[in-house]
Amino acid sequence: MKAKSSLIKLNDKGLYCAAGDFYIDPWKPVKRAVVTHAHADHAYRDSQNYLVTKEGEKLYRIRLGFDANLEMMRYGETRSINGVKVSFHPAGHVLGSAQVRVEYKGEIWVISGDYKLAPDPTAAAFEHIQCHNFITEATFALPIYRWQDTRKVAEDINDWWRRNKEQGKASILCAYALGKSQRILALIDSSIGKIFTHGSTQRLNSAYRESGINLPNTTYAKAVEKKSEFQGSLIVAPPSALGSTWVKRFGNYSTAFASGWMIVRGARRRKAVDRGFVLSDHADWEELQTAVRESKAETVFVTHGYIAEFVRWLNENGYNAKPLQAQYVGEEGSEAEESSED
């Protein structure tokens, strides 16, 4: 069966499905928005109606506002929108993140949003869905971006924290407030010491816990009176906190940043942190290839990141790939992605 690739098109508001009259991750207000996950560059406010995952409900409430009109659906459930079949499938990116499967007159599209294949105790594991047209991200689509086993990274974080504790220092670990921070909290050895968080992280921790995700106890750092309490503790904060006066309260400390970009020494040094932990919620070079291969898609659309590079590689390796320039904030910008989730 030869599918026509006109079901989903990009316009100035986002990815649009004309047959169903809905958008996926629109960056401007629309009548109906289907949203892949709750990061700010995918879930914009002020649309009239949203279709989101039930699993991500608590996060969407924070991101889209408590009065937003949310329609919810669990992973695997199907809904018909103007005759177009829509379903959500785990993307493994953050809690509640989904790939959107769209089917109309036998033509199947999968908009994978942001995704990863590596295990994450705080997000349901990525599911391979076969389709005719697969839209993939390309945030880390270069062969220099290959991730280590997550457990090894967790061990490195534990070692760093322990060593700082021995030296009477606090350990300030910067990570995006939504997703990465909770993943780290779930991975580390919480018996090493007390854990404090920045306000924005703390709020999202609560949303995760209310969604049934097990996280170690964390204390809101601002609620602490005595500086000495921070000695030997781990403090999880968004990257923006580092340059601010907020960190002054921690006295003697070591700093670290957890991000896929930390694999490159220059990026690590630009951050001017003591340590860089290579931990990403995006697929690495090999995961991207696996996802594309397993989709069995006839056409692969590439968006977000190293678009031209990945398109070229795919076309040279037997796929039919095309660029899809969406206005996601993270376009080619390592720094942009970091700020999108502060």
Partner: protein, 536 residues
């Protein structure tokens, strides 16, 4: 190489000096002398020159990782460092190479240079297979001749001093000059035996270096407690005459005796047991010439007679460190200065033309001195050096007794027209810029500059470049002329190689003039006016 890799990683992971010193101590406490010697060799900025061409390393790595040349290029642009790109691309390996550093360098690395290509290929592949990521990174850098560690000589000296119980001066002095990375050298370096004869006659003293004044001059106290000298723009050098031999050292610890034969020859006439500190300057018609003139001479391996005639040099002497074979660095500056003057006064006429005491400038107040500093441009000097009269000659860069008091640089407003991604810390960002000024109603390239912006500004310019690219020539992008920057530079000279007709020295970005439009940028006429001042 395991211990050395750990040291490299530790040093790379911290910005705090005391942690770096601790890491160094940890290493030197545990390393065998033969390994420590090599580590020291690398830490002090010495490195073997390229063993295998980078191009070959790249080819073998691409082959092993199945990456096409175009994709390698893309990766390289993100990383900004070939050795690191290769380490990131090679197939994962969790094994660690336990080969001692000296074996690796002496038996595996250095002999490889003379080997045939297929043997080199085989050796490199098997080395990679035995190493983890960090070891591969170091190995690649060593083999490509690009190894350097982010640690200053001062910290290495401090760590070794703390370990050995020797004063930092002693360590610093023993580390100067030429030495071989052997166990014997290392053991002698940290040995407490202080033999007077131990000092080879060529060994220079560590240079005393100064910081720029960054506070009101009044904070220095009484102007009479200070000696002001013109600050020359040449090559800092130490001239040694011992046992009828002359040695000249640059601040970068290069032996430069043969580069400046006229000075070396003049120094033959110094008494034995003399060490001078001074500045090598191009000197013609009793006047200093631009540093750019001197650069023409530095660039040449062989100094020709023609060059000697066209660009003669002299030494402006400003300090005396050894006198009658005695180290006098602990004496006060005014005493050293008296000895320097009488020493130079006793030289014959020809020698005195080459070895001159540098002029000191007196003033009754800081205001008066500031007034005198205004002559700097016309005298072709960079301003003043301020030295406390009762200070000893110290080791390394120190705050307190010596200060640079440089004049403000020239400035000009120019327009950003080309951008290129940076390397190292700035890989992946557009940080290398070309600026233009107006000439006959057209913007012509004028200078390249890299530094001077904050990280935040760099990111904004990076975004601008991505959004306003007109054309791409390889790694260079031409952008819509829109952003104006204030540039600073130290000197200016006519040039036939530059489209604007002038070349500038030390161009750098002073600030982003987002209040200015491109029409407000400076013109070539304004640059020519500066040329008049320089009088070249």
């Amino acid at each position: 190489m395991k211990l050395f890799t750990e040291l490299y990683v530790e040093l790379d992971q911290t910005n705090k000096t005391n942690e770096k010193v601790e890491a160094l101590k940890f290493y030197f406490e545990r390393a065998k002398s033969e390994d420590a010697a090599w580590a020291l060799y690398f830490l002090s900025g010495r490195k073997p020159r390229q063993i295998v061409p980078s191009k070959k390393l790249r080819e073998w790595a691409m082959d092993l990782s199945g990456v096409e040349p175009w994709l390698y290029e893309e990766c390289y642009h993100e990383v900004g460092d070939g050795a690191e790109t290769i380490a990131l691309l090679l197939p994962f390996n969790s094994r660690t190479d336990e080969t001692p550093l000296h074996i690796l360098v002496e038996q595996k690395l250095l002999p490889l240079r003379a080997e045939a290509e297929n043997n080199q290929h085989e050796a490199v592949i098997s080395a990679w297979q035995a190493m983890d990521y960090s070891q591969r990174l170091i190995y690649n850098k060593l083999i490509a001749g690009s190894f350097r560690v982010g640690v200053s000589q001062l910290l290495v000296t401090r760590a070794l001093s703390q370990l050995s119980g020797l004063p930092t001066d002693t360590i610093a002095q023993r580390l100067m000059g030429e030495w071989q990375p052997t166990a014997e050298f290392y053991e002698k370096l940290v040995s407490s035996e202080m033999d007077a004869d131990e000092t080879p006659i060529a060994r220079p003293f560590p240079f005393h270096l100064a910081y720029q004044v960054d506070f009101p001059l009044e904070d220095l106290g009484d102007v009479y407690d200070w000696q002001a000298e013109w600050k020359w723009d040449g090559i800092r050098a130490q001239i040694i005459k011992r046992e009828n031999q002359v040695f000249m050292w640059s601040r970068g610890e290069d032996l430069i005796t043969e580069r400046f034969p006229e000075i070396a020859q003049a120094a033959e006439n110094l008494p034995n047991g003399t060490v001078l500190d001074g500045e090598i300057l191009p000197w013609l018609d009793n006047q200093v010439q631009s540093f750019m003139v001197l650069q023409r001479r530095i660039g040449r391996k062989n100094v020709t007679t023609k060059m000697l005639a066209e660009i003669p040099v002299i030494l402006q002497c400003y300090d005396l460190l050894e006198f009658s074979g005695e180290d006098i660095r602990a004496e006060e500056l005014n005493l050293r200065r008296q000895k320097l003057e009488s020493l130079l006064a006793n030289l014959d006429e020809e020698t005195s033309k080459i070895l001159r005491p540098t002029e000191t400038v007196s003033a009754d107040s800081w205001e008066e001195l500031a007034k005198k500093r205004e002559q700097s441009r016309s005298l072709r000097v960079e301003g003043f050096m301020l030295k406390r009269l009762n200070s000893p000659y110290r080791v390394g860069r120190q705050r307190g007794d010596w200060w640079k008091w440089k004049i403000d640089p020239y400035t000009i407003d120019a327009v950003l027209i080309y951008a290129q991604k940076g390397t190292g810390k700035r890989a992946n960002l557009f940080t290398d810029y070309t600026f233009a000024i107006w000439k006959d109603g057209e913007l012509v390239p004028f200078a390249k500059a890299y530094s001077g912006l904050t990280d935040k500004e760099i990111r904004k310019v990076d975004r601008f470049v991505r959004d306003n690219t007109n054309e791409t020539f390889g790694p260079v992008r031409s952008v819509t002329p829109q952003l104006v920057f204030e540039l600073a530079f130290e000197g200016i000279q006519k040039s036939t190689r530059h489209k604007s007709g002038v070349a500038v020295r030390f161009p750098r970005i002073l600030r982003w003039r987002d209040d200015k439009k491109i029409e407000d940028a400076d013109t070539i006429e304004q640059i020519y006016a500066l040329l008049e001042v320089e009088n070249i």
